[in-house]
């Protein structure tokens, strides 16, 4: 398909230029419509954020009584008060979360791409069985393995440390990322590895110098997802961390609410807003790597 395309491109270079010009004009019009559509969608997408923002600024006796997005009185103090609103400061919680999340992202990207490379590009006996077993780990409902897993980490003496949250990430336990990268690795032309192999490149060199750079969009996607999911995870921190000094942000957020006494909703919403700031920053930086692939064009 690539060859055919390349050929016709040569034959019709002049027509192509004319077509591009025409396309540019019609694209301008389409661009406006697109923006209008996107802005409408965007409003639906950000409504919850606006609602949370407005709730974080309302007096607590107004959050649930009124549907209006405009607070009768803007309470900026929920932010500083919420930041210090629990027995331990949110400076600490954010630090803990960043520590766990950054290490987890590194672990996930390295270990899952390793496994994906093996599954997608290398041959070994038992590959299909290993792959099926890996998929099985995705299918079992988490709540029934929670306790057996807890017992393993308890035996290891790791409860009350960050190890149960971080070490598994270096062992490619999240099959989602392995499978994701497999799908992208398999899209890369075989000729690349074969050529490199003939040049005497080791498997590791091929992984590092060819597969990973060419799969940058997939790797960036995996990094983004693993940042968000680890950052938001509360079940892991919930069972493995007992000391409030070690808590991560999502666990801390849930401590503002009470069943049988006063809940600090305003502070909870304020800290919820702040808690997504690191996600947005990470997202905006890493989405830049979801770029046009150079893989196949590079073959020309």
């Amino acid at each position: 398909m690539v060859d055919v395309a390349t050929q016709s491109l040569d034959d019709h270079a002049a027509i192509a230029r004319a077509l591009r010009e025409k396309k540019r004009r019609s694209e301008k019009r389409a661009g406006l419509i697109k923006h209008a559509f996107l802005i409408a969608c965007t409003f639906i997408m950000i409504y919850p954020l606006l609602w949370m923002l407005s709730s974080s600024l309302k007096p607590s006796d107004e959050i649930f009584g009124s549907l209006s997005l405009w607070p009768s009185e803007v309470m900026w103090e929920t932010y500083p008060e919420g930041w210090e609103g629990l027995p331990v400061s949110f400076t600490r919680f954010f630090g803990n979360s960043l520590f766990v999340t950054v290490l987890s992202v590194i672990g996930n990207v390295i270990s899952c791409s390793f496994a994906a490379y093996a599954f997608a590009r290398l041959e070994f006996k038992g590959r299909n069985i290993a792959f099926a077993l890996m998929m099985m780990t995705l299918m079992i409902p988490y709540h029934v393995v929670l306790i057996p897993q807890y017992l393993i980490f308890l035996k290891a003496g790791w409860v009350d440390t960050y190890l149960p949250l971080i070490v598994p990430k270096f062992l490619a336990t999240d099959a989602f990322f392995v499978f994701l990268m497999i799908q992208f690795f398999r899209q890369l032309p075989r000729e690349l590895d074969e050529a490199a192999m003939i040049d005497g490149c080791s498997a590791f060199k091929i992984y590092w110098a060819i597969i990973m750079p060419l799969s940058l969009p997939a790797v960036a996607t995996a990094a983004i997802f693993s940042f968000i999911w680890v950052w938001e995870d509360f079940l892991g921190p919930l069972v493995y961390l007992n000391d409030i000094n070690d808590y991560t942000v999502p666990l801390a957020l849930r401590m503002f609410l009470s069943q049988d006494s006063i809940s600090e909703y305003g502070q909870m919403f304020a800290m919820s807003i702040l808690s997504i700031v690191p996600i947005i920053i990470f997202f905006i930086i890493f989405q830049k790597f979801i770029i046009r692939g150079i893989a196949m064009s590079g073959l020309k």
Binding site: S60, D61, E62, I63, F64, G65, G85, L86, P87, R92, G95, N96, L98, F99, L146, I147, Y150, L151, L154, K155, A156, G157, W158, V159, D160, T161, Y162, L163, I166, F234, L235, L238, V239, N242, D243, I244, N245, D246, L251, R254, M255, F256, L257, S258, Q259, D260, S261, I262, S263, E264, Y265, Q267
Partner: protein
Amino acid sequence: MTQFNRRRFLKTAAMTAGAGVAASSFSLPTFAQDARIRHFWWGNPDRDERTFAVIDIFNSKHPNIFVEGETLGFSDYFTRLTTQIAGGNMADVIQQGYGVLFEYVDRGAVVPLDEWVGNTIDLSKMDQSALDAGTVNGQLYALSIGANSHMAMYNTRLYEEAGFRPGEDFDPYGWTYEDVARIGAAVTDATGTFGTDDNTADYQNFSDFVVQKGGKLYNDDGSYGPTQEIVEEYWETWKMIRDAGATPPGPESAGQVGAEVSQWGIVTGRTATTYAWSNQLVGAQNLMQDTLGAAMFPNTPAMVPGSYIQPSQFICLTRDSANPEAATTYMNAFVNDLDMTKVLGLERGIPSNSEVREALRPTLEGAAATSVEFFDTIQDKVAVLPPPFPTGANEVEQTFERMAVAVLLDQGSISDVARDFLRQAEAILARA
């Protein structure tokens, strides 16, 4: 990231790599000389602050015991607790609610305190009713750290607008279901806000009703008490109130089953009366501009008491405690030491220690004062606390709430749903 965490992480990593499996943070040398006690509770910002402060007081008074606090939000508390039960590493002292305590006792997760009574634990100032509530099969398993009762909360502004003043136009401590229908309909007409929540699916109201009718929720042999007639009559009673125009339409009420405080109709301005636990008054008031009044749950004209005064929360000693002597010393201080109870205040409910209660009284205002006044008034208007409910009681309660929704949605006749519910309740109790 703080230095502390990085160090701690690396230390643990090194420890595990080197020393193998045995090294846990439990055996860190720092407190090896002292008894290390873990206290685990569900909290909120205010409670957490008070409890950590109390722990500091205790630790400074008892140099050879080191108490560590662990806290979580209520919604997460039992998930962690369950995991720790399986791991055999529960905290020494845990917080428990009245409803679930008995399952934990039944299955052996918490242990009796009797051998420590008169030794490390002093019960002389505790209300007898609170002690009874923590007693199962003649053994004391739990110390009450706050009393609780059913409470109807009403919006005083809306009631006044409709012409109802407590004590003059209705008796908050002796109103009937007919009163609720009449007042509710009048409030709906006068204010446009529905006069009352619909309790068709409220198991707490149902349990009151059973006792008001002279029945029992559970028979002595553990079988289910309510009869077909009682279940039907309860749902008919609330249908009467609904038909009077006092409540929101059935489907709206169906959406309120199990709603948390912030979503209650009285908080969001949909209704003028709700039915809950007395220790929720302060929290609900905090989310509202109008002032809340306190009343008992409605009764039948015969006025047989149906509500109980029961502990809202207990502290218990777990079977995983390695040093019950130190743990019970701490538990004792938690309920008796006036320096500590002063800091704890009413935050967990009305204290069960009379001395502590009197010391607190002058400091109260607003909804907290309303709660205490309510408690003083209902003392002689409540029923005797029944023996602990059997295992499976929680599931029966959830089943009731689920099936009552069919009544609210008009999916099936009251007698059919009632029959179905009783059959399922029986099956649950047989399976448990």
